[in-house]
């Protein structure tokens, strides 16, 4: 007897021998990025063979790729149930659990998978990531090294190894491994290959860090906006070696890039670029300059608000907020499409202890859909929503200049404040991005920034309490 929830016609049209073909088709569709069509075939295959671990595993992948994480978790869980000795099943379940923040269970299944098939690099890679999320960085590095040994040409383990090394402060090796970032699946190259080849018999090579007094260097503002802010400090250093340089960046980054390079050198599309001889992404400059913990260039401030725009926003804020109150800017969520957003972002309400501070006025610089949370803010401190009026980073910098402090999660605004020397409290997830290093409450990248870290995954109460306590202490 079949699954009673499926129409009997399905069974009439299928024979058990169709199963493998369905699975092959589904696998192909998954590879082609069509999880919905794959899911259709997998549902049929599971109807024919409800305990087939391959079908269940693939179905879990289809659910995961379709964004149905609950279903994915159930399907992977069922796969492990029917095939407890199947390493791939444990590996899939490990990853699904990790993404849900269930790190204990993820670790158990990851270790089981590694024990069952210790020679599969993808299992060791996933296990390394679980250790990173658990902030057991030495183990994360260990497992990623093993994965790299098994598959030296696969970029994922190299990149995770880089994250672990950089987070630990092992910059020289970390920068080397970090170079694998552009080879990760789905990541476009920093410069289109056609542009590198254009008009040259040999593609233009990347810059090796040596002086180029008479050649032109192309710098690319790569990665996220926060990275652009962080690495923009290297542009004057690059200029000393290569006086003739141009920068390519997205329109959003231009207010930042113009300040450190002069507006005429900035380009927002590949077509407008002048000819160049070598190239380098901004995120590659720390490696070329051999940056170590002791040599991070931190001449703060290296970004400034436009005086006219700052005056306009100050006048606006003076009208919106009473005098004599400490003005604290707020950003509680980053771009939702960021890979680690569910860990780094919080809800406005989780900042509640901040709302009870006396003589404090809150200024929201939050943009995007989470701005809607302001409509449900009823804290004691007045809160002004400026997010709706922010057009670009020039506005953000102008507002930051009028604040006494910024309280932010790990977002580009926090980097901007750090680069401007605005006192800033950054709230970090348990396993933070590599740049915030381990355990310390300060950061060599931005001397005016104080870090408040989660002490257990997903729990914001502790760092928020610590941040508020430190603000109270500073006001004494």
């Amino acid at each position: 007897m079949g699954n009673p929830t499926l129409p009997s016609a399905l069974f009439a049209s299928l024979a058990p021998a169709d199963g493998p073909k369905l699975l092959d088709d589904a696998e192909r569709l998954l590879r082609d990025g069509n999880p919905e069509a794959a899911d259709l075939r997998l549902s049929r295959a599971i109807a024919l063979a409800p305990a087939d671990p391959r079908a269940l595993g693939l179905a879990g992948v289809a659910s995961h790729l379709s964004g149905r994480s609950d279903q994915a978790l159930r399907r992977f869980g069922w796969t492990v149930h029917v095939a407890p000795g199947h390493a791939a099943a444990h590996n899939d379940l490990c990853e699904a659990l990790r993404r849900r923040g269930r790190l204990e269970e993820a670790l158990a299944h990851g270790r089981l998978a590694a024990a069952l098939e210790p020679d599969r690099f993808d299992i060791l890679y996933n296990l390394g990531i679980v250790y990173y999320d658990r902030l057991e960085i030495d183990r994360a590095i260990l497992w990623e090294r093993r994965a790299v040994r098994l598959a030296p040409e696969v970029p994922g383990p190299h990149f995770e190894l880089a994250e672990g090394l950089l987070l630990s402060g092992c910059f020289p090796e970390g920068w080397q491994e970090y170079e694998w970032r552009f080879r990760l699946p789905g990541v476009p190259p920093p410069v289109p290959p056609s542009l590198l080849e254009s008009g040259r018999p040999v593609p233009r090579p990347p810059w090796d860090g040596r002086p180029m007094p008479s050649e032109r260097l192309l710098l690319i503002a790569d990665q996220g906006f926060g990275d652009v802010v962080q690495f923009a400090r290297y542009i004057p250093l690059a200029e000393r070696l290569c006086p003739d340089f141009v920068i390519a960046g997205s329109p959003e980054t231009l207010p930042i890039l113009r300040q450190v390079s002069g507006g005429r050198r900035c380009h927002q599309d590949w077509e407008s670029l002048p000819d160049f001889d070598r190239w380098c992404p901004l995120s590659g400059l720390p490696r070329l300059f051999g940056t170590t913990l002791a040599t991070i260039p931190a001449e703060i401030p290296y970004l400034h608000a436009d005086p006219e725009r700052a005056a306009w926003w100050k006048e606006r804020l003076d009208g919106l907020l009473p005098k004599g109150m400490q003005r604290i800017g707020l950003v509680w969520a980053g771009r939702p499409s960021h890979g680690n957003d569910q860990n780094r972002s919080m809800r406005l309400q989780q900042l509640k202890p901040l709302f009870d501070l006396d003589k404090v006025a809150l200024v929201s610089l939050q943009v995007g859909p989470t701005q809607a949370e302001i409509g449900r803010y009823f804290g004691k401190a007045p809160l002004v929503n400026l997010g709706a009026g922010i057009g670009d980073f020039d506005d953000t910098m102008a507002i930051l200049q009028s604040l006494d402090r910024l309280v932010s999660v790990d977002t580009a605004v926090a980097h901007l404040a750090g680069a401007m020397g605005v006192p800033t409290s950054i709230l970090l997830p348990f396993a933070p991005d590599w740049r915030w290093l381990l355990k310390r409450g300060d950061t060599p990248w931005y001397p005016a920034v104080t870090l408040h870290r989660q002490t257990s995954p997903g729990r914001w109460d502790e760092p928020v309490r610590a941040m508020v306590a430190s603000l109270r202490f500073r006001r004494r």
Binding site: I374, G375, F378, N385
Partner: protein, 597 residues
């Protein structure tokens, strides 16, 4: 559906609908018919003069069935209807006469008075203005307009016209007493008292003079004097229903049982009496009976024609949400020049949420004048399309601000608001701020933020179930008359709450949410927070708001003369069974505010 030929008109005039409010074309009467009509008109007039109302009415109906536009017959019928009602019919007939004879002063005045009686204030005011236009030398025209303005929350303008009437006709007891009531509404208790004394001396036999004087003394905290004056009023007209006020007075004097006894002895309580009874029963802990009295009062209020104008409310709120969105607002200009003179503090919130208390605290500060429930913003909204020369309604008319010749529009709107508001505010020397605490002004937060971006907006919040319960225990017209029923009050509160959230998401506001419960439980820290927010130094007088001699002219005036009390906190818990129907409506608001059910 068109009326059938013999259907009587719904207005109650006694005429067929097709000869009254839903007229159809009528052939002109023939010559013999004309003679018959004229003869009937004379007989109707004779009957009216003899006091034979039934004959007069029967004849008028016959005449008007044949000649619906016969002005004399309409006039006689209007007189009869003004005497015996229904009021709606009297108004309908008077409007028809006015249409026929637009320059007839008496008809215009009668119409204005009838509209006033029916609480149709904007229409009453329009007709009273017409009367003044027709004859500015007529004291009655001024007196009627004064009444319309006074009742329509414009007592300052009303005072002007009472004084015009007195200057034109000399002092008479009724106009003096009316002026005294007007001054009482402005919080000028001492002047009002002096005028009542003068009016009573001129004619001591007018019941309303003594009643109004008693109410003035009660407002001025002279409760014993008020009792004495009320006794005097009762001697003049023992049959006049005054139970509601007497009970309120006894309640304030700490005798709720006696107050209740007064109301229970009264026959056929009006809505005010029933609501007072409800409040007294609540104080005595008899909650089921209290709620029953409130429900009965609201049923009467609805019978009188008051009810939530839900289609209008939901339409306006939807359009406000659609207009005030961040991308559009970024393109709007800001006021070009700063406004001079005293600036407003908007104390917003649902009625009965604590706005009067907040205003009383603020106006105890020497820098703040208490403006009370100012109609200025609503008037501005009404006039906004004309001010911006727009063919669109509010809020869409604000689109004119994109036009090159309307770039100063926000300055003009702001100045018009300030001009209207300042006329109504009783300023004292040193006042540089004034409060505007019209409930539900938060509906217009977007407009406030555009034209007065630096004006502080204090949004007083209270447990929504307490708010709607308290709205049930008072007769309120705010918020499209939503308080006429429990569920409509809840629906309107939820709608407005949602809109406020929208404004806060879409635009920068100088906005402070202030919980009534916090204010009651942690008074001084919250008073300090409030003063900080509006930009004032702390002043200890604000902690003794009950000593603020200012008379708050709203339903909460009695409470704010008492020291802070907490018996109003979470009162809804005694009424959960009765409030059950509105819990699903208010639950999202309750959750958002962090309260519990």
């Amino acid at each position: 559906m068109p009326p059938l030929p013999d259907d009587r008109c719904g207005c109650g005039s006694g005429l067929r609908a097709v000869r009254c409010c839903r007229p159809t074309a009528v052939e002109p009467p023939s010559a013999p018919a004309l003679d018959r009509i004229e003869a009937r008109t004379e007989r109707a007039a004779d009957a009216f003069d003899r006091g034979d109302a039934a004959t007069a009415r029967r004849l008028c109906l016959k005449i008007l069935d044949e000649a619906p536009a016969h002005a004399d017959a309409l006039t006689i019928l209007a007189c009869l209807l003004q005497i015996s009602g229904p009021a709606e019919a009297a108004i309908a007939v008077l409007q028809r006469i006015r249409h026929l004879r637009p320059d007839d002063l008496n008809t215009t005045l009668d119409l204005a008075r009838q509209l006033l009686r029916a609480a149709r204030l904007p229409e009453a005011q329009a007709q009273a203005r017409n009367a003044v236009r027709l004859d500015p030398g007529n004291p009655t025209s001024h007196a009627v307009l004064a009444m319309a303005l006074t009742e329509g929350h414009q007592p300052h303008a009303g005072e002007f016209h009472y004084r015009q009437a007195l200057a034109l006709a000399g002092a008479d007891a009724v106009t003096l007493a009316n002026l005294a009531w007007n001054l009482k509404l402005q919080g000028r208790i001492d002047e009002a008292r002096a005028l009542y004394r003068q009016a009573a001396a001129l004619d001591p036999a007018i019941f309303l003079t003594w009643l109004g004087w008693a109410q003035t003394e009660e407002a001025g905290r002279g409760l014993d004097t008020a009792s004495r004056l009320l006794a005097r009023a009762r001697r003049i007209d023992p049959g006049h229903p005054i139970g509601g006020f007497e009970a309120a007075l006894l309640g304030r004097q700490g005798a709720p049982e006696a107050a209740l006894a007064v109301l229970e002895a009264a026959v056929g309580l009006d809505p005010a009496g029933l609501l007072e009874k409800g409040r007294l029963l609540d104080r005595l802990g008899r909650h089921d009976e209290a709620f029953a009295a409130m429900v009965a009062a609201k049923a009467l209020i609805r019978q009188q024609g008051q009810g939530y104008a839900e289609p209008e409310a939901s339409d306006l709120i939807a359009r406000l949400g659609g207009f005030f969105i961040a991308p559009r607002l970024r393109l709007l200009p800001r006021p070009e020049s700063p406004a001079a003179g005293a600036q407003p503090i908007f104390v917003t919130g649902a009625p009965r949420s604590g706005t009067t208390l907040v205003e009383q605290i603020l106006s105890a500060h020497p820098a703040v004048a208490g403006g009370d429930e100012l109609p200025a913003l609503a008037q501005l909204v009404h006039r906004l399309p004309r001010l911006l020369d727009s063919p669109l309604a509010y809020p869409e008319a604000l689109s004119e601000l994109w036009m090159g010749d309307q770039r100063d529009g926000l300055d003009r709107l702001r100045d018009e608001y300030l001009r209207r508001a300042r006329k109504l505010v009783p300023f004292r020397p040193g006042n540089r701020l004034f409060t505007d605490k019209m409930p539900f002004n938060e509906l217009h937060l977007g407009l406030i933020a555009l034209m007065l971006p630096a004006a502080p907006v204090v949004h007083v919040l209270r447990h929504p179930l307490d708010v709607v319960l308290s709205m049930m225990s008072h007769n309120l017209t705010h918020g499209f008359q939503c308080a006429a029923d429990l569920e409509t009050a809840a629906r309107h509160c939820a709608r407005v709450f949602e809109l406020v959230g929208h404004y806060r998401r879409e635009m920068p506001l100088r906005y402070l949410p202030l919980r009534y419960e916090d204010l009651v439980q942690e008074f001084e820290p919250n008073v300090r927070r409030l003063l900080d927010f509006v930009g004032l130094r702390f002043d200890r007088r604000c902690l003794r708001f009950d000593k603020n001699r200012r008379y708050a002219r709203t339903a909460s005036y009695a409470q704010v003369t008492e020291a802070l009390y907490s018996r109003s906190l979470y009162r809804h818990r005694n009424y959960m069974r009765h409030l059950e129907p509105v819990i699903p409506i208010l639950e999202p608001v309750i959750d958002s505010l962090g309260y519990s059910v």
